[in-house]
Symmetry: D2
Subunit: 311 residues, 4 copies
C-alpha cells in the first residue's frame, strides 16, 4: 500500500535549503575501522545516504594511512572531518608530563592528517579522555589541558582548521558537561580557532534545554560543530531529545557549520569506543537505512525552519 | 554546498515501511477547486509529492462532477477520500427539520459520490457545520444529528465506507471537541461504520496530550481517520504540536488507516473554507515543497517508530 | 496517606523568589461580575490563593463603579490590572468613524478608571474586538486602530500606565496573531507606553514555539504583560502548552512585569466573554483549588529557573 | 513585591489529592550518612518539606543501626523505604560464587532491616553494582543474579515487602536499561514480590518516551516504585525530562505506589555514591528549598491530573 519510500521520494520537489551547513555522518554508522577499505565503504555509503560529509573517528592518527584515505576519498564528492577522544596514556587532563606530551603529539598529528585531507574541522573530547572518570577534574589537570590546547589552537589557525571541544555528559568527562562550562574553559584559553562542539545526546542529559546552550555558544562566537544524536543513540525521533527546539535555535543564530549525525549500535563496533560509550543494545541493524533516515530528518528540519521567515 | 535534496535523496536506501496506512494530502494544498482541472492538478501533484492518497474537499457533492473526477483520476495511482463540513442551510445539528433533511441528503450524496470513486473513507465535520457557533449545542440538535448519522452509518456499511467524525476545536464546532466527547457521541449512535477522526491541529488545542486520545479511540475500536496538521497549519515541525507523541501512539495501537496531511494558507483559497478556518496568514507559498516535506516527515516518523521493536 | 497539601505545605521552607514579577489571576476564575460584591469576592479569593494581583475584566468601564471597587479593594494587599476587548459597536478596527470614536472613549475611560485604582497595567484586545472576524483586517481599519492607540499611548504615558496589546489566535482577532505581527503593528505606532501582551494559550496555536516570541518582544523592549493559560484553558499541566520553554524564556530575558493566570469554565460565566471564547466545557468546578494550584505552579517555575544561575 | 511563597501558600485551599501514593524524598538530599543523627536530620527535614516518606540509602545494611534508626523515626509521621546498589565484592551479576553469596547476604539483610522498620518497599540496583561496567553482562552473570533474586523475592513475599529493580542508564548498569529489558528479566524469575522501578532521570536517556514504559510495566502488573529525578539531577523543571507525559501515564494506569524525589549535588556527598553517579556539579545548595520545591511540584502534577476526569 505505502510502497517503497526510496521510489516515492524520487520525484520530490522539495526546495533546496539555503543553509550552507554541510550535513554529515559519523563513520561508525558504516564501518568499525578506518583503513582504506573502511574509509572507502564509509564514504560511499555516506554519499549514498545523501550526506555531504563523513566524520572520521581518528582514534589513532599515527596508525592512519593518509595516502590510502586520499585514494578512498578521491572518487567521491564528500567532505571529511575528524573526531576523537584522547587515547589511554595520552590524557592531557591528568597533568602528568608524559601523558601531556603524548597527548599533544596526538593532537598535532590529527591536525596534520586532517590538513592533508583538506578538512576544516576537528572535534571531540580533545581536552582529555572520553571515559567515566573516578574523581573530579583537578585544577592542575585543567591547566595542563588548556596549555596544550592553546598551542593546538595556534597551529589550527595556521592550518585554517576549527578545533571544537565536544561537551559530553558526566559519564564521559569530568572537565565540563555543559555549554556554560565549556565556554568558560575556552575563554580561559582565548584562542580563536577553538570552539564549542554541541551534541544533542549529551545536551539532553546535562543542559537545561536545547535552546539556551546554542544561544550562549553563538553569542560567544564559539559554536563550531554540532552532533545530532538521539537520547539513546538510535534512530532520530525514537527517543526523548527535543530536536524541534535545537533546530529552531540553530536557525535562530544562523549557524552554518557542520551538522553531523552520530549513532552507535552493537551492529558496528569499535572495541574501544563501544566500551567507553557503554553500547550494550542494538537499536539498528541497517546502517544505510539509519543514515538515509537521519539525512532526511535533518534536512527536513532545516528546510522547515527556513519557512519561519514567512511567519 | 548542501545541494538539492531532491537529487540527493534519489539514492536513499531507506527501508520500506511496514505500515499499511496510506499517506495522503488534503486537496487545498494544491488547488482551490474540485472541477476536472482542479482534481487533475491536485492528484498529479499529490503523486509527485510522494503521497498515496488525495483527500478531496467535497463541500458541494451535488455540484461535483463524478465522471470528470474519474477522468482526472484515471491516469494516476492515487486513492481518494473526501472531507467536508455541512453547508449553510444543511446543519443537522440545528434540529430544524428542513436543515436536517437537507443535511442528510448532502451526506447521502457524499457517500454515493465516494462509492463511485471507489473510496473507502469519508470524514470531517459531518454532524454539523464547521463554524464558530454562538451558543452551546442543544440536546435536540444533538439528537437530530445522531439520528441522521445512524442512517448514514447504515448506508456506509452497505457501501463498505468508513465515516469518521472529525473532532475539531471549540471555534469550529460546539458539539464535541475531544476524543472523549466524540466517543460518547458515537457510542450513543452505535453504528459500526461511524468512527472518530483525530486531527493533530485540533488535538493541540483541546486534548490533554497527543497520546491518550489515540489510545482511547483505538481501545473503543473507533479510530477511523487521522489528520496531520501543525499548530498554525503551516510546515510540519514549525509549530508546537508534539508529533513525536502522536506518531508513537499511532504505532503503539497499530493504526493502519489513512494519515492525511492538511495545511492552509492564503496562497490557495476556497472562499468558504478559508473564512471558516480564519486563514489570515500565508505560512507557505509553494504547495509542492510543503507537500513533499510533509510526505517525507510523516514517512520518516512511521519508519523510525517501526524500529522501536528493536528497543 | 498523602494527606492534605494545604496542611503539608504550611511548613515549606521554599526560598523567596527574587523575581519582581507580581503573580496574578484573572477575575473570571472567581466571579462573573465586577460589581462591589463581585470585586470583593474576587480580590479576597485572589489573595487567599496566594496571588499578588487581580486582573479585572473591565468590559464595561462606564458601568464600572470605581468607588465601590476601591471599597472592595481597601482591605486587601492585592494589586489590580484590567483587561478587555472592545465592545460591540466600538470596534476601532472597523475604521467606521462612529465606532472609532466610541472605541477611543472606551479606552480613555479604561485608563482613567485604572489610574484611579492606582493600576500600572491595562491589557487585552484593545485594537479591536475579541471575536471571530468574517474577513481579514483591512488597511484602513488597521490605520484607524493605530491612530487611536497612538493617542491612548500618549495618555497612558502621562498616567504612568503600560498598555499591552494582547496577541490572540486567529479565531479571536484578524489583526495579528503572532509576536512578529504585533511588534510590527506597535513599531508603526511608535509609542513607548504601548507593549505586547503574550498569552501562552494563544501562542500554543499561532507561534513556532514558546521561546522565540518572548525573545523577540523583549529585544524590542516591548514585552509588557504575560498571560499564563493552558491549551484548553483548564488546569495548568493538563494540556499541551510547553510551559518549561516559556518560563525559561521569561527568565532568560529577565522579564519582571505581571504574570497572570487565566482560565475559563462554564462554572463561572460572563455571557459575552464565554460566547466569544467558545467555552463549551467545564474543566474545573472549584475556582479556589484551580487558583491555588496555578499560583504554586507559576511560583515553582519561577523559583526553579532562578537556580539556573548555578548550572 | 512577590513576597515569600512559604507565607503566601499557607492559606492555599488546594484540594486534597485522592491518590494514595506516598510522596517521598531520597535521604541524600539532606544528609550524607545514615547514622542516628543523619536519619534524624533527614526525617525531620523530609517531613518539614511536606513529604510522606524518606528513602534511606542503605548501602551498608550490616553497619546500619536499626535501633538508632527507630529512635530517629519515632517522633515523626514519616514512612521509610530503602534503596541501594550492591557493594564492591558483592556483585551477584558477576556469577562469582563468593560475590554471589555476599550479595545475597546483603539483600537478605536489607529485607530484615526494612521489615524491622515496617517498610513495605526496597528498591534500587539490587541485581548488580551501580557502576560503569567495562563489558556487556554475561548469560552466566544474569542467571546468577536471577537465582539470588528469586530467593529474595520469596523472602520478600513472606515479609510483605515489594522489591523493585531500578532500571538505570547504560553508564550505571549493563544488565538492562529499559522497562522492556527489566520486564523480560523479571518474567524469567517469575516472583510476584519483584517489580520494576522506573526513574525519570534514567528513562530520559534510555526510553523512547515517558509514557510507554509506564504502560508496559503497569500492564505487566510490575510497576513497583517510581523515582522522580531531573535530567541532570537538579531542580525539577530545570532540565529536559518530559514530566507531563510521565505523570499523565502514572495517572492513566492508576499507579498508587511510592513516588520519590531524587537529586544529587556536591553539596551533600556520599563518597561511594557521588563517584558512581559522576556528580561533578553543584546544582543546588539548599536541600530544604530543593525538597519543598519538589514536593510542591509532584503534588501539583498529581492534583492537576486528577482533573482530567472532567475533560
Amino acid at each position: 500500500m505505502v510502497g517503497n519510500p526510496s521510489t516515492e521520494t524520487k520525484d520530490m520537489a522539495m526546495s533546496e535549503t539555503t543553509t550552507t551547513s554541510p550535513i554529515g555522518c559519523h563513520g561508525l554508522v558504516f564501518s568499525g575501522n578506518v583503513d582504506e577499505q573502511g574509509i572507502a565503504e564509509a564514504v560511499a555509503r555516506t554519499e549514498k545516504a545523501g550526506f555531504d560529509l563523513l566524520e572520521i573517528p581518528l582514534l589513532d592518527p599515527f596508525g592512519f594511512d593518509v595516502a590510502a584515505a586520499k585514494r578512498a576519498l578521491a572518487a567521491h564528492d564528500v567532505q571529511v572531518t575528524a573526531s576523537l577522544g584522547l587515547p589511554e596514556g595520552a590524557d592531557i587532563s591528568t597533568g602528568d608530563p608524559e601523558q601531556v606530551q603524548r597527548g599533544e603529539k596526538v593532537l598535532q598529528r590529527v591536525l596534520e592528517v586532517m590538513s592533508d585531507l583538506e578538512s576544516r574541522h576537528v572535534c571531540g573530547v580533545l581536552y582529555g579522555m572520553l571515559k567515566k572518570y573516578p574523581a573530579p577534574a583537578t585544577d592542575a589537570g585543567r591547566a595542563a589541558s588548556q596549555e596544550v590546547l592553546a598551542r593546538i589552537g595556534r597551529r589550527a589557525t595556521e592550518l585554517g582548521i576549527t578545533v571544537s571541544l565536544e561537551i559530553v555528559n558526566r559519564y564521559e568527562s569530568n572537565m565540563f558537561n555543559t555549554a556554560t562550562g565549556a565556554l568558560a574553559f575556552l575563554d580561559e584559553i582565548g584562542e580563536d580557532a577553538l570552539k564549542a562542539h554541541l551534541d544533542t545526546y549529551h545536551m539532553n542529559i546535562e543542559e537545561s534545554d536545547m535552546f539556551l546552550p546554542v544561544l550562549a555558544a553563538a553569542q560567544a562566537g564559539r559554536l563550531g560543530y554540532v552532533h545530532i544524536g538521539e537520547s539513546h543513540r538510535g534512530y532520530l525521533g525514537t527517543g526523548t531529545v527535543d530536536f524541534d527546539s535545537f533546530f529552531r535555535a540553530l536557525h535562530h543564530v544562523g549557524y552554518d557549520g557542520p551538522i553531523t549525525f552520530e549513532s552507535f549500535s552493537t551492529a558496528v563496533v569499535d572495541d574501544v569506543l563501544s566500551t567507553s560509550l557503554a553500547i550494550w543494545r542494538n537499536l539498528w541493524k541497517d546502517g544505510d537505512d539509519l543514515a538515509a533516515h537521519a539525512n532526511a530528518y535533518i534536512r527536513g528540519a532545516l528546510r522547515s525552519n527556513e519557512t519561519l521567515e514567512m511567519h
